[in-house]
Symmetry: C2
Subunit: 353 residues, 2 copies
């Protein structure tokens, strides 16, 4: 058995692969492949609508929220968000907690003022800043809920009256939150929602008032809302894989159900790491991500040995991001507990020798 | 047997479906699904590289051409092209031959001057204007090689010293052309290249000089070139389906081989339409598309009858676009000659009764 700890694109449920594979040959007994279906057919419209409704149900969204499936990954949202929300003379407040936040900040500067209100750069992004003041005149406050590369996660929603905007690419649907507190949420699909090639964007219409800029049609959220994510040919198959993954999530007891397993997976892995000093988790205790567990070893030779051992035991995707080094073990929704147990077993063996 | 005449997303070769279906369960004997592969693995890098090289080979591109696979469909290129090529005080020359050209023109106006140098609006876009002068001071000349909705096609490359930019979404790789004559070519994949969810963009670096505008990273062709289409997580599966389709095309004898069959398919269909006055092709003889054959009937009752007959005989996707009405029969590369024969057989039967 292969244990897939990839940081994204990453493991999806086995039944999603099986169903997707079948639908490429014959979708819902239409005799046609999902890849050759016109996007304006009632068959695909039903796929899109079910996916949209499942997002609303699983996230318990109120009726003011619009659910969009858009082209591009979160990197496209880094600029599409300020392009739609920020006039040139207005200010967006940003939290700087690592690579993805930095990129979001860089793109936002093209469209308005950016105020970086706190940063964990001083300690190599190994923690989440806690004491900061969100300026009352800011148009919105943007943060990354989970830092895939650095392995930190922000579990509590910041207290503020400013509209919240969050990049939830790597922990969306992994634990319960009041998603209605956000003015805009975006997430590349390729971790907890589906395969690479589509963006989930959830937004409240009140966010879209007062923009002075003329927007290219494909960048204009208002047009995507009016056209129900069908302004142009959507990424049909990627949306279909989202639907399959969302259906699977519902069967796991939804977000509450998966949170229970995710907590168990992360607790087991961190407990094992903490018990064996050969491994050194890099992140502050209270900010440890339940999705991406990052650790190093103080001995470079031992790191190589453990890498080789993982490879031998079919554990893929465990190499740390080049900016951090060491290891990163990703525990997204679809990763089974048994894969974590296999990994902790290996760690214990390794620590004993 | 189902005959799929969809205008896009549209039919792809059977062996592409079979191979894609297998790879979702187990890609190249890795034991992993193509959907859960990290995009920075050597396995996916090999997919991307082979796809890129096949495009260069099949289109006989010279070494100055860069081949990119980008997020979004042609609609994204409508604005990405002028955003990258046109300064505010500069002029882009555009040909207006229908719905897609109009959209491209609309987006370009956001970034610079647009000069529409000819239009076939006067006769409902049923022909391609021939006598026009491309202004020598224009930065580029943009046109749509095939008008999917109106059923016109521009086979000859316009004579000009201005750099050519073409939207080839619906006829790319369907017939031989000197693709090196173009400064920039773009095409949504979902007709002749693969499935929906990725854009093929081919451009010459000389096109990218002198832009004064600051570009969002994801919109900047220069960054995509530097990063080899891996500036962010690319649409992995959509690119893989392109690779499979390009491999298939090579086995058909490449562009020259498929052109022969495409000519045969279109000739047979138009011949049948012309032989039976109940059908009325809408497009001027010399501008008839070989990809999208558009026709109407003068009798609304008969149209309904023929629609019903097509449905009964498992011929899907033949309804004309709402802006034109009647019928549209799409004959993309992957549509077998036997589907055209089945359609012409049906037409002859229908005309006789």
């Amino acid at each position: 058995m292969i244990h897939n700890f990839n940081a994204g694109p990453s493991i999806l449920p086995k039944e999603v692969f099986e169903e997707a594979s079948k639908s490429i040959l014959n979708f819902n007994d239409t005799g046609l492949s999902i890849l050759e279906l016109g996007h304006r057919t009632s068959i695909f419209e039903a796929v899109l609508e079910e996916a949209r409704l499942l997002v609303k149900e699983l996230m318990q969204l109120n009726d003011d929220k619009h659910v969009l499936f858009l082209h591009g990954g979160a990197s496209t949202q880094f600029f599409q968000v300020p392009m739609n929300l920020l006039n040139e003379h207005e200010t967006g407040a940003y939290l700087d907690c690592g690579v993805w936040g930095i990129k979001a900040i860089k793109e936002a500067r093209l469209f308005g003022n950016v105020e970086v209100i706190a940063s964990s750069k001083d300690r190599s992004y190994t923690y989440i800043p806690k004491d900061y003041i969100i300026p009352a005149q800011a148009k919105y406050f943007h943060y990354t809920t989970n830092n895939t590369i650095e392995g930190t996660e922000l579990f509590n929603i910041p207290q503020t009256n400013i509209p919240l905007v969050a990049d939830m690419s790597s922990d969306i649907l992994s634990h319960q939150m009041d998603f209605n507190r956000f003015g805009l949420i975006y997430a590349g699909a390729q971790k907890n929602i589906g395969a690479a090639g589509v963006n989930l964007v959830i937004l409240d219409k009140y966010m879209l008032k007062g923009i002075e800029r003329k927007l290219p049609s494909m960048m204009d959220y208002r047009l995507h809302i009016e056209n129900g994510s069908m302004l142009n040919t959507p990424p049909v198959f990627a949306i279909y894989v989202c639907l399959l993954t969302l259906r699977w999530l519902k069967k796991q007891g939804g977000v509450a159900g998966i949170e229970k397993i995710n907590r168990e997976k992360a607790a087991l892995l961190y407990k094992t790491l903490d018990a064996h000093p050969v491994f050194r988790p890099t992140v502050a205790l209270e900010d440890r991500s339940r999705m991406n567990v990052v650790f190093v070893m103080d001995d470079a030779e031992k790191e190589k040995e453990f890498q080789a051992l993982c490879k031998k035991e079919n554990m893929v995707g465990v190499k740390g991001h080049r900016s951090v080094g060491g290891f990163r073990v990703s525990l997204y929704n679809a990763l089974p507990l048994e894969s974590v147990k296999a990994m902790t077993g290996l760690m214990e063996d390794f620590a004993r020798h």
